[in-house]
Symmetry: C2
Subunit: 344 residues, 2 copies
C-alpha cells in the first residue's frame, strides 16, 4: 500500500439536523486504515449509494432502523473490492456488495456481504436498477400493488431510481402509467425515454387538475415515495379497491412540525373505509430479502433486453457526498445518485 492510500477518509455524523440537513451535520475525518485480523477483510469502496432513507437515519426519532450515532460513520450501500483478506470466503480483488457507509475503506467480518466475484461489468448498477432501489420497485409494485392490465398506476418521483423502475414494470404488465416528476426535463425523459403514458410536473400551478386529466379512469395503484402535495392530489382520484404501497415520504423527511390543520387523519381513515383501500408500508430487505435472487434474475433479463431503462447520476469524490445528498432531498439529481469514491 502506497503512502497516499494509508489513510481512510470518512464522513461521520457530527450533529443531528433540525429540518433540512446542512454541511455542519457531517464531519470529514482522516484516520489510519486498519489491518484485517484473522476472519476479517479490508474493503476499498468504489461506489457509494446515496438514498433518501439516509435522512431518517440522521434523526433519533423512532424509526424502522436504529439511528446513526453521533460520531459514527454515515451508513450507506457500497460496491467495494477486497484489498486484503484473512477471511476464507473472500480474496484480494473480489467485488463485494455491502453496506460500508460513507468511507473509502472498511474493515469487515464478512457479515452481510455479497461476493460478486472478480469480474463485474457495471458495478454501480448493483446500487440502482439491480440493487436496493430496483428491488424496492419490483416487490412494492408487484407484491403490494398487484397491478392488473388496463389499470391506472401513478408513480411519484418518476424519474428517480425507484419510480422509473416502478413505471416501466407497470407498463410491462399492461397498465396505463402516469408519472409525477419535478420539472419539464424530467417529465420529457419519463415519457420519451421510459415510455410512461404521461408525466405531470408537480411544480406546475395546475398540478392537481393536470393529474386528474391524465387519469380519466381514476387511480388503481399509487406507488407512494413522496407524500406531501402529490399524495394530496392523488387522494380524490383513488378508485375503489386501490392499493398504495408506501415506500417513502421524501417530501416529509425534513419537516420539523406537522402542517397546519384541519386534521385530515380522519379523512384518510374514512377514505380507506369507503373505498376499501389497502395502504401498506414496507422496508425492502426486512420484508423481502429471500426474494432478491428472483428479482435479480428477472431484472437482469429485462435490462439486457432493453425493456427496463435507467439513468445514473454519478458524482466523483467522497468529499462531495454531503452536497449531493442535499440535492437529492431537493430533487436536484436526475437518475440514481451514486458517489464514485474510488477509481476501478
Amino acid at each position: 500500500m502506497s503512502q497516499q492510500t494509508r489513510y481512510n477518509r470518512r464522513f461521520v455524523l457530527a450533529s443531528r439536523p433540525h429540518g433540512e440537513p446542512v454541511a455542519e451535520n457531517f464531519r470529514l475525518e482522516t484516520v489510519e486504515i486498519p489491518q484485517p485480523a484473522v476472519g476479517q477483510l479490508l474493503l476499498r469502496t468504489l461506489y457509494l449509494s446515496l438514498d433518501p432513507y439516509m435522512r431518517g437515519r440522521m434523526s433519533d426519532a423512532p424509526s424502522y432502523a436504529a439511528p446513526v450515532q453521533i460520531g459514527q460513520v454515515m451508513v450507506g450501500g457500497t460496491v467495494s473490492r477486497v484489498v486484503s483478506s484473512q477471511h476464507p470466503d473472500f480474496k484480494t480483488g473480489d467485488w463485494v456488495l455491502g453496506y460500508e457507509g460513507w468511507q473509502e475503506y472498511a474493515l469487515s467480518d464478512g457479515q452481510g456481504l455479497r461476493n460478486l466475484g472478480t469480474k463485474l461489468n457495471h458495478p454501480s448498477r448493483l446500487l440502482g436498477v439491480l440493487g436496493m432501489p430496483g428491488f424496492t420497485a419490483y416487490m412494492g409494485l408487484l407484491d403490494i400493488g398487484q397491478p392488473q392490465a388496463g389499470e391506472t398506476v401513478v408513480v411519484a418521483a418518476a424519474s428517480g431510481a425507484v419510480g422509473s423502475v416502478v413505471g416501466q414494470i407497470a407498463k410491462l404488465k399492461g397498465c396505463r402509467v402516469v408519472g409525477v416528476a419535478g420539472g419539464e426535463e424530467k417529465c420529457r425523459y419519463v415519457v420519451n425515454e421510459l415510455g410512461f403514458d404521461a408525466c405531470i410536473d408537480h411544480r406546475a400551478p395546475q398540478f392537481a387538475a393536470q393529474l386528474a386529466a391524465a387519469c380519466p379512469q381514476g387511480i388503481d395503484v399509487y406507488f407512494e415515495n413522496v407524500g406531501g402535495v402529490v399524495f394530496d392530489a392523488v387522494i380524490p382520484l383513488l378508485n375503489t379497491k386501490a392499493r398504495i404501497p408506501v415506500c417513502g415520504v421524501i417530501a416529509q423527511y425534513n419537516a420539523t412540525e406537522l402542517p397546519a390543520g384541519p386534521d385530515r387523519l380522519p379523512l384518510l381513515q374514512s377514505l380507506i373505509l369507503r373505498k376499501r383501500i389497502k395502504m401498506q408500508g414496507f422496508i425492502i430487505f426486512d420484508d423481502y430479502a429471500p426474494r432478491f435472487g428472483e428479482f435479480l434474475q428477472q431484472m437482469e433479463e429485462w435490462v439486457s433486453q432493453g425493456k427496463i431503462k435507467f439513468r445514473e447520476d454519478i458524482v466523483d469524490g467522497l468529499e462531495n457526498a454531503p452536497q449531493a445528498f442535499f440535492g437529492l432531498l431537493q430533487g436536484k439529481n436526475f437518475g440514481k445518485l451514486v458517489i464514485r469514491v474510488g477509481n476501478e
Copy 2:
C-alpha cells in the same frame, strides 16, 4: 288478510341530516300493501337490523354505496316471512333473510333473498352473530388482521355486534385481547362474559395511559370500527407489521367538518411506512360474499358450543326505530340492536 294488516307502515328519508340525525329526517308513512304479480312475493318483516353504516346512507356524500334518496324507504337488513308468493322459489310461511328496509311489508322479485325454510329457531340471530355483523368480524379479523397466537389484538366497540365477535375469535386463536368500550358496565361484560383479557373505558380520563398499560407488548392487530380518540390512543402503541382492518369509523359519521389541526395525515403516512403497517378497508358483502357459507357453518358451530357468546338489544315496534338508531350512534345500545317489527 284482515283489515288490520291492509296497510304498510314505512319510514322514508324526509331530509338529509347535518351532523347528528334527528327525528325530522325520517317520515312515517302509511300506504296500502301491494299485491305480488307473477314472479313476485310479498314479505312481512319480523326483524329489522339497525347498524351504524345506515348513517352513511342518509348522506349524499360519495360513499361505497348509493345514498338513500329523499322519499325512499330507509334501507336495512331484515328477517321476514312470506305472506303470499307468485315466485317459484318461495312459498307462504317461508322465512327469508333480505334487505327490505324500515317497513312492515315489502314486495320482492326474489333478488338478493336467502330462503331460510319454514323452521327457524332464532331468527334475530341472522341479523347479528350469524349475519352481517358476525361475518364482518370473522372476515375482517381473519382475512385482513391475520392474528397469530400470542399477538395482542385491540378491538374498539368491544361490546357491540361486531367487536364482541372479533374479540372472541381472537381469543380462540390464542391472542391477548383488549377491548375498548363506553362505560363500566360494558367493560365488565366484555371481560367477565366474553372473556377478553382486559377492557378499557374510552370515557375514562386516563384512557390512553390505561390502554397502553393493558398492551405491554404493543398492538399487532387493531380492528377499527370507531376512529376518533380510540384510534388516537392506538397509534403510538402499534407494533412493526401491525394490521388494521378498517370496518367502520362510527365516531366520525356525524362530523360536519374536520377536526382542528395540526394535520396528522402525514403522520399517519410516515407511521405506515416506518412500522410497515397494513391498513385496509373492506365492505363485507362486496368483498367476501362467496365466503358467507363457510362463515355461517363455523359460527353456528362456535355458538352451539358456547365458544362465541352474544347479546341482543331488541326494541319492539317499527315506530321506535329512529330513536333506537340515534342511541346506537351514541353508543347507548348494549348488544346487537334489532327492531322487532312484527310478531312471529
